[in-house]
């Protein structure tokens, strides 16, 4: 978005006055910067998805197969049978509108079809028409025919939802609009209309085990550079193992943690922690991705990509699995993995080797979130920490949608942050914890071509960051999600500026006192620690 509009210009475009025409009569306005590119045939072919072809979403002809409507409706019938929640959500909405202004995309765009109620209605109108008796009455019953234009409208708006579930928190009926988006995307994928940005990681992940397509030798090489840096900063040589059979624990994290900044600094934090503990663990170059773009595609694809985690745990003979700082990875692991690819009866119920704590909540999945693991260590006094090393940071915490609303991780990251930093301030209550505002780029919407939409969708989050920056001097936004770490820096630069973005374990790594470490002068980014600013110049 080299030619992206200035923040104030973008804000002034938001118009909350609904169009005068009824929604069914209001055609989609295809705005550049609001829609992703279509999937390339090579990626769809690789994962065995139908109708791989060259196509362009802005052209009239999407090159759908002749019987596309049949496929769609048959697919919808299957989903209605398979997921009772879907039928329930289609039936029970009373259009009270409690969700309407809770969506960051509605707040950011003012487009009524981004009100969760109306986004769902786009699909609900098809449900009424083809699956209810009342729907035979047509429009008066809120029903409409499925046409190519209707299909394109579904596509446009289901890729303007990040499946963050903030709306669901406010729904008096408990309708999970994210699940409606998920069903919508299932149907879209039956017709081969995935986005380019999602289908690339799907194919990569299916081939190599991770979204980036990192091969084993590449992963090892990336680690070598991180380990060199750690040695330079701490004087300690960390020696992790890969694909080691017989390790007690398998560690799985998003591949971006060992590829892209600032995720690599979070990864360096994990490495220091595990080394200091003497944790008997291994990385895997196959289960080398916690994230799962299949979750943004279809139930079946999510299952296929997720299966490697238990398969690798079994192959290596570990006792349980520890998982890193990732958002949607945890929604999949926490809510679906056990029934999708389990039961993992070959694993043991996770117990911390250092504190004896049984992670009761991970009894069935056998997979523990790293902030639970680390918070427990701190609680039991197992780590020596020097929070002064983070004194140059005034920190706030962005709850990732999936770890907060998807699994209730609220206290653990805050407990760690308050142990490793002296200056921590919360953003306003209605923007954190279960009411957290989305980064605006989740669920595979972190594509470059929709940066305008992302900036608008992320505006409520950025606005809360701006508030704590001005009120408390916050200069570091911490989070526990790899998509967050990738997308919050440009978002904050755009709306706020001069606030960094980091993972929680990066700050932990800064504060962690290692056995045998040299006098620490630099943080994990190689920047001078507070009080060490002149040190480099003296030498």
């Amino acid at each position: 978005m080299a030619d992206k509009p200035k923040p104030n210009d973008l804000l002034s475009e938001i118009n909350y006055t609904p169009p005068s025409r009824k929604w069914m009569d209001t055609p989609v306005e295809w705005k550049k910067g609001y829609y992703c590119y279509g999937a390339k045939p090579k990626n769809l072919d690789y994962i065995g998805f139908p109708n791989g072809r060259e196509w362009n979403v802005t052209e009239q002809d999407w090159k759908l197969v002749d019987n596309w409507k049949e496929i769609f409706l048959e697919g919808m019938e299957n989903l209605l049978k398979k997921f009772r929640s879907f039928r329930l959500f289609m039936d029970i909405c009373v259009r009270c509108g409690a969700c309407a202004d809770k969506c960051h995309f509605f707040i950011g765009t003012g487009d009524p079809k981004n009100m969760p109620v109306l986004r769902a209605e786009l699909l609900r109108s098809i449900y009424r028409r083809y699956f209810t008796i009342a729907g035979k009455l047509g429009r008066i019953a809120g029903a409409r025919d499925l046409t190519e234009d209707v299909f394109k409208e579904l596509w446009y708006y289901f890729y303007q939802c990040t499946e963050c579930r903030r709306c669901s928190v406010f729904c008096p009926y408990g309708i999970d609009t994210a699940e409606i988006t998920m069903m919508g995307r299932e149907l879209i994928n039956l017709l081969g209309c995935c986005t380019d940005w999602i289908s690339g990681p799907l194919a990569n992940c299916y081939r190599t085990g991770n979204h980036l397509g990192l091969q084993p030798h590449t992963i090892k090489s990336n680690f070598e550079y991180m380990l060199d840096d750690l040695e330079e900063h701490t004087g300690v040589r960390v020696e992790p193992t890969f694909n080691r059979k017989g390790a007690e624990i398998l560690f799985v994290t998003p591949s971006a943690d060992f590829f892209a900044e600032p995720g690599v600094f979070t990864c360096m934090g994990y490495l220091l922690l595990f080394h200091q503990l003497g944790l008997d663990y291994t990385w895997s170059t196959y289960a080398s991705e916690g994230g799962n773009f299949g979750f943004f595609t279809s139930n079946e694809m999510m299952k296929r990509l997720n299966s490697k985690i238990y398969a690798e745990a079994k192959r290596l003979g570990v006792k349980w699995i520890l998982g890193g700082e990732c958002g949607h990875m945890w929604r999949v692991l926490h809510q679906y993995m056990d029934t999708m690819n389990g039961p993992a009866d070959f694993l043991e119920e996770p117990v911390s080797p250092f504190t004896g704590t049984k992670f009761e909540n991970a009894k069935s999945t056998k997979m523990v979130h790293i902030t639970e693991f680390t918070a427990d260590l701190i609680r039991h006094g197992k780590l020596k920490l020097d929070p002064k090393r983070n004194d140059n940071h005034t920190v706030t915490f962005h709850d990732s949608c999936n770890t907060s609303r998807g699994m209730g991780i609220f206290e653990e990251p805050r407990y760690i942050l308050n142990s490793v930093c002296n200056h921590f301030h919360e953003m306003p209550d209605n923007t954190i914890r279960e009411q957290t505002f989305c980064c605006g780029s989740g669920s595979g919407l972190n594509a470059g071509e929709i940066e305008e939409l992302r900036m608008l969708g992320g505006y409520p989050r950025a606005n809360a960051v701006k508030y704590v920056k001005e009120k408390h001097g916050v200069n570091m936004l911490s989070c526990i999600c790899a998509i967050d770490r990738a997308v919050l820096p440009p978002l904050i630069d755009y709306w706020v500026s001069d606030v960094g973005v980091c993972g929680v374990h990066e700050l932990l790594g800064n504060a962690l006192i290692m056995d045998g470490e040299k006098e620490r002068e630099n943080d994990l980014r190689g920047e001078p620690l507070p009080g060490m600013e002149d040190k480099g110049e003296e030498e």
């Binding site: 080299a2 980036l212 590449t218 773009f293």
Partner: protein, 111 residues
């Protein structure tokens, strides 16, 4: 599919101008891409492009920024091993612009 022309040959690129097939890359097409951005490629630009090509050949992905800066420093001197220098050469960012000129696909996923 959009295409770019160089020395009478046509090259398929994606919506953002990344080469669809990295093995088709030529110095000519890199120069055409740069020209499209109003850049003339200098010796310093080519050093980066060459490194990216060699790295990709071995690892099938663009290098981490950390690797790029460290290796450039080793090879061409400390003053060339930092992101500030890379942004001076490639104002739209080394990860995007330099990789595009070098014919590498853009990394995808949580990045």
């Amino acid at each position: 599919m959009p295409t770019l022309e160089s020395e009478g040959k046509s090259y398929e690129v994606d919506e953002e101008g990344y080469l669809m097939d990295w093995s088709q890359w030529t110095e000519g097409i890199a120069a055409v891409m740069a020209k499209g951005d109003g850049l003339d490629l200098t010796e310093e630009h080519w050093e980066v492009i060459k490194f990216l090509r060699d790295y990709f050949d071995k690892y099938q992905i663009a290098p981490m920024i950390k690797i790029l800066t460290k290796e450039l420093a080793k090879k061409y001197g400390k003053e060339k091993g930092n992101t500030k220098y890379l942004y001076e050469l490639y104002p739209a960012g080394p990860a995007k612009q330099a990789c595009r000129y070098a014919g590498l696909p853009k990394p995808t996923g949580c990045v």
